[in-house]
């Protein structure tokens, strides 16, 4: 087994009803790399992430995680080593909670059932707020945050999980330049510390600057590897220009 692999996806097929969303996909996410998952709308990026996190059961294929002792583990066994950052539009931000409350939720996995977060957890949560550039926001009501600040709070929550793998669904969607820079600096910092970061990304312009590796998908894997090798004009054209659902109305 190649020691540098963190997650191995093997011949994965996922379908909603009869329509396949991901078709026979095999991907190897490398350790200590910042990997972008790129593809047009409806290409199955979010489905890929949700399947990796066991929200969706695949029809066929397997996903193995190689985190601790290099043996293949299913997602369930390594849940606490994986931090997930959903799109920040998936929750109701009028929920009665402070910023610190939300970041503290990142500690819940370590606490297990019933135990309450303690002083140490609050300390960690505050450190993470400092890292995302919101040190004075701890007691702020979450409904008062801007889009970029919300995204940073979600990132702080994931950081508080102190995980090995970070999986993020479009963390840069709809955020301002300042937040984008803060987030990318943090992600690079994580990779330098030996973490694996996987990001669903939509901005083709910034791929070269931001990422080490790239996976181009559109229902199938079109190309994968280092940005230099895989992010070619030919591969991009192939990813974005092939319309597999021609005649069915949606892409």
């Amino acid at each position: 087994m190649d020691e540098s692999i963190a997650i191995k996806i093997d011949h994965l097929t996922v379908a909603y009803d009869a329509k396949p969303v991901l078709w026979d996909i095999s991907i190897e996410f490398k350790k200590q790399r910042l990997t972008a998952v790129i593809g047009p709308n409806g290409a199955g990026k979010s489905t890929l992430i949700k399947t990796m996190l066991s929200f969706i059961q695949p029809i066929n294929g397997s996903i193995s995680f190689f985190l601790e002792n290099e043996t293949a583990s299913p997602y369930k066994a390594v849940k606490n080593k994986i931090a997930y950052v959903p799109q920040n539009t998936t929750v109701d931000w009028d929920f009665p909670a402070t910023v610190l409350d939300v970041v503290l939720m990142g500690r819940y996995g370590h606490l297990g059932w019933m135990k309450r977060p303690g002083k140490k957890d609050k300390e960690i949560a505050k450190q993470m707020l400092l890292k995302v550039g919101l040190p004075t926001f701890a007691s702020r009501q979450i409904s008062q945050l801007s889009g970029g600040q919300r995204q940073r709070v979600f990132l702080a929550r994931a950081l508080a999980q102190e995980a090995d793998v970070y999986i993020m669904d479009e963390p840069l969607a709809g955020v301002d330049m300042k937040t984008e820079r803060i987030i990318m600096k943090l992600l690079k910092g994580l990779v330098e510390k030996g973490k694996t970061v996987i990001v669903v990304h939509h901005d083709l312009q910034t791929v070269g600057d931001y990422f080490d590796d790239v996976v181009l998908i559109n229902q199938e894997v079109i190309a994968q590897g280092t940005v230099a090798d895989a992010f070619t004009k030919k591969a991009i054209d192939q990813t974005y220009h092939q319309d597999r659902n021609l005649g069915e109305g949606e892409g």
Binding site: T90, V91, D92, F95, A97, Y108, G112, M114, P117
Partner: protein, 308 residues
């Protein structure tokens, strides 16, 4: 009049009943906060309406007002309705809102048919089954109050024990599942608690209005504080006070059902909170908006003044 009130307050039956509805209000406030934040309040409404045929059928089987059988019937009917609603919205073209109102009204209609049919049975009239529609707290026995107290304490303890789990699954259920908590367990527990609360309140508040006792206190409480713990406590308090005052109102005048009077009190809390809350209230928002507007206007004016 005053004498009458004092007499009532000293009345043992009134005290028992008021305590029962007060505790029920407290429970609804606490559990209802989670239901409202999870956007499940409509489901509670459907469930309570759907409970009516279950009560009727329960009575038909045992032929007397055996509370445990009636409530079990209510529970089963409610769960069947919920199941149908969920299956409809997931498996058919019918959307959730249509499925909700369709099942809600058809089950309620069936309940009315059954109840009316068995009203001809003198047993049934005596049992006061129609009380289940609008609620009649005075029909509550000490036994019923004890049942509310015991089940209520268990539910409140569960909220305390699983506070952190309930919190994360109410705010962000997807994230909660990635933390290693079983979504099935937490969400089933939450739904069961909501169902239990509704079932407990059926006799005193009635199938039509019980859901507003779930929603009202939490909506009102949310206006005054930004912390989940305080929203839950305040909602419990508002629910308790509404239960007691509502029972009081229904007891001083003749034949006012308890459900409506409790709901009127809850609604008063909701309206006051929506209008007058200092940070989130409609009036406060209006003045804050006007103030911002005038600040901007002054800035624009001063900029224009500079140009000249």
């Amino acid at each position: 009049m005053l004498n009458q009130i004092i007499l009532l307050l000293n009345d043992y039956t009134f005290q028992v009943v008021a305590l029962g509805t007060g505790f029920l209000g407290l429970l609804s406030g606490v559990v209802g906060t989670f239901a409202t934040l999870r956007k499940e309040s409509l489901l509670g409404d459907a469930l309570s309406h759907a409970a009516l045929p279950g009560i009727g059928i329960g009575f038909l089987i045992v032929q007397r007002k055996e509370m445990s059988v009636l409530l079990l019937g209510a529970l089963i009917a409610g769960l069947i309705a919920t199941l149908i609603i969920q299956t409809m919205s997931k498996r058919t073209v019918v959307k959730l809102d249509s499925a909700l109102s369709l099942i809600l009204s058809s089950f309620f209609g069936l309940g009315l048919v059954i109840l009316t049919a068995i009203q001809n049975n003198p047993n049934a009239r005596q049992a006061g089954l129609s009380n289940f529609i609008f609620g009649q707290a005075s029909a509550m026995l000490l036994r019923d109050v004890q049942l509310i107290a015991i089940v209520g304490l268990v539910l409140l303890a569960l909220v305390g024990i699983f506070w952190k789990e309930f919190k994360v699954f109410t705010f962000d259920p997807m994230f909660g599942r990635t933390l290693g908590f079983s979504g099935k367990i937490v969400e089933t527990l939450l739904s069961t608690m909501i169902v239990m609360t509704i079932i407990l309140g059926l006799e005193s508040v009635g199938v039509i209005l019980i859901s507003s006792l779930l929603i009202g206190p939490s909506v009102a409480a949310r206006q005054w504080t930004n912390r989940l713990s305080r929203v839950v406590m305040l909602a419990g308090l508002i629910g308790f006070v509404s239960g007691v005052i509502g029972t009081f109102i229904s007891s001083i005048a003749v034949r006012i059902p308890t459900g409506p009077s409790i709901v009127v009190v809850v609604s008063a809390f909701v309206f006051i909170s929506l209008f007058f809350s200092p940070k989130r209230g409609i009036i406060a928002n209006h003045f804050a908006y006007k103030k911002r507007q005038s600040v901007f206007m002054n800035q624009i004016k001063s900029l224009e003044g500079d140009k000249k």
